[in-house]
């Protein structure tokens, strides 16, 4: 009962919902870059949020299955095929022993998620299977790696179940990202905020699972970039001394000493992580806390409305 890595993507790791409660000790939550696509794939095969799937980023991956099971692939910038036959993403499908599942990198995004019924049974570290290779909690996957699966005779869900378009993220090449200003907005002048709302930014190739570095109009501080180190969370847009934003991602440092101009709303974070380096033009718009919370509630309601009986578990990702 396993998946065998035949071709490894540049970034390829096991992730579940994330590891919570340890940021006070310097350990970030990890978990998927695109929480929405990960959750959708898991939901399509009947998995719970703490069951692990596979994250593939930036290049093609291929896997061999050694058993019969149910799978789903969600995300952007990938083309799915089984034994060379194209299959739609955002839909569950059956595989048999010996099948080759290929996630081919194409334009339109960076990350895709493969969920397998029952979840990947890799090692658990501090209550989670999410990979955090920087501290040796799992590692980026390589050719020949075996990922143990759970033996399930009966699947609660059947092949052909799909996530309707309106319940998926609305990925765009040039996304408009909702952000909540702060927590250090007083360190930036009104003119700098005008610039931040007006200018578009690009994702630098120096981005990774810790942070997305953006390039564009320089955002100067009123009184310098530094502050006394304080807790820092996912989505926070930090502005270091060079005025170029860094958006915190799941493997982010848990504390930081630079001011932050705004925080990306959770509902729009998937659009940002799928923005393509050197290609996508990213713009920002201010949203209120209430608006951001409503967008997030609407996103997770997509899982609730189409779920058979496990609504509650999907509400709180």
């Amino acid at each position: 009962m396993k998946l065998i890595v035949e071709e490894a993507a540049l970034w390829m790791s096991v992730q579940d919902r994330g590891r919570y409660g340890y940021q006070r000790f310097g350990l970030p939550e990890s978990g998927p870059m695109d929480w929405w696509a990960f959750s959708a794939a898991s939901w399509l095969v009947g998995n719970q949020p703490m069951q692990a799937g596979l994250e593939c980023g930036f290049s093609t991956a291929s896997l061999i299955v050694d058993c019969e099971t149910l799978m789903a692939v969600c995300g952007a910038g990938y083309h799915l095929s089984v034994n060379g036959r194209t299959l739609p993403m955002w839909m569950s499908f059956s595989v048999r022993k010996g099948d080759q599942v290929r996630l081919q990198k194409v334009a339109g995004g960076n990350w895709a998620y493969l969920a397998v019924a029952g979840g990947i049974q890799s090692e658990t570290w501090l209550g989670s299977r999410s990979t955090y290779s920087r501290a040796g909690l799992g590692a980026n996957l390589a050719i020949g790696d075996h990922l143990p699966l759970k033996y399930t005779t009966q699947h609660t869900h059947s092949a052909g179940r799909s996530m309707p378009t309106h319940a998926r993220p609305h990925y765009q090449r040039d996304p408009l990202i909702g952000v909540i200003p702060g927590p250090h907005q007083e360190r930036f002048s009104a003119e700098i905020f005008d610039l931040f709302w007006a200018e578009s930014y690009r994702v630098s190739t120096r981005s990774d699972r810790m942070g997305y570095r953006l390039t564009g109009a320089r955002l100067n501080h009123r009184t310098g970039p530094d502050l006394v180190s304080q807790g820092m969370m996912i989505g926070q847009i930090q502005i270091p001394g060079d005025g170029q934003p860094i958006v915190m991602m799941p493997d982010h440092p848990t504390t930081g000493g630079y001011t932050s101009i705004a925080v990306v709303s959770r509902a729009d974070r998937p659009l940002l992580v799928q923005a393509e380096p050197g290609l996508s033009n990213i713009n920002f718009r201010p949203v209120s806390i209430a608006e951001a919370q409503e967008s997030y509630a609407a996103a997770v309601a997509g899982f609730q409305n189409h779920s058979d009986n496990e609504e509650d578990l999907w509400l709180h990702l």
Binding site: A135, V228, Q230, G231, M233, R266, Y296
Partner: protein
């Protein structure tokens, strides 16, 4: 002792699911006491939906689930706790002793710290082990503690050129800070010694040796056990 939180911190939203309680830009034991007291108070009287409490030198970041806990409820809860927080008396504070082999291969920069400070190597060690260091915050890497309380006469700037690999357990000085590397890592701190104690062990029931608020004492070890 029950006291009112002074000075009053500001409550700043961080996105739609974070709240920063911010005491400002001063790094002091007095302010850190306030942070610690609120953190302890919230640990004892938690609210459903608080997912993370991240104390720092002069702030406490709370990460919460907005589908479970409304921001206004959280703010009310925080204000209640801030209005009357209890500074823990000393006997409640954990004191952790860390055996260190100073100098030699374990502390390649002990000589340069001595040269910079004008002390002999043994005087540097003597001053370093005499300190009571409070874990003011954790971060940078899992298990890394930012320690308050370095003897100001031991302050030494970082290396001009960082090392590509500093072994786990290395004890360093950087400016006014002293700390222990929990993992092998590149770094620019002046390394004066090393401990065999694990700061981060993901397979242990207690994966982190230190926690915010602990007091750390360094104890010179003769190197009886090989590193």
């Amino acid at each position: 002792m029950r006291i009112k939180s002074e000075p009053s911190p500001r409550l700043l939203p961080v996105g739609e699911f974070g709240l920063l309680i911010d005491w400002g830009d001063t790094v002091s034991s007095l302010i850190n006491d306030q942070v610690r007291a609120l953190d302890v108070s919230l640990e004892a009287h938690s609210l459903d939906g608080i997912m993370e409490r991240v104390p720092a030198y002069a702030s406490l970041l709370l990460i919460y689930d907005p589908l479970v806990l409304h921001q206004s409820e959280l703010i009310t809860h925080i204000n209640e706790h801030l209005s009357e927080i209890q500074i823990k008396s000393d006997h409640n504070i954990r004191q952790i002793e860390i055996p260190v082999q100073y100098g030699g291969d374990y502390g390649p920069d002990l000589a340069s710290v001595a040269a910079h400070t004008g002390f002999s190597e043994s005087e540097v060690v003597e001053r370093h082990v005499s300190g009571f260091y409070r874990v003011g915050m954790m971060g940078f890497m899992p298990g890394f503690a930012y320690l308050l309380g370095l003897d100001s006469e031991l302050e030494t700037p970082r290396l001009k050129s960082p090392r590509t690999n500093i072994p786990a357990g290395s004890i360093g000085i950087a400016g006014q800070q002293t700390g222990i590397y929990p993992l092998d890592s590149p770094g620019g701190w002046q390394i004066i010694g090393r401990t065999t104690v694990k700061l981060f062990d993901p397979l242990s029931d207690t994966p982190f040796l230190l926690a915010p608020g602990d007091i750390v004492r360094f104890v010179e070890s003769d190197g009886g056990s090989p590193i």
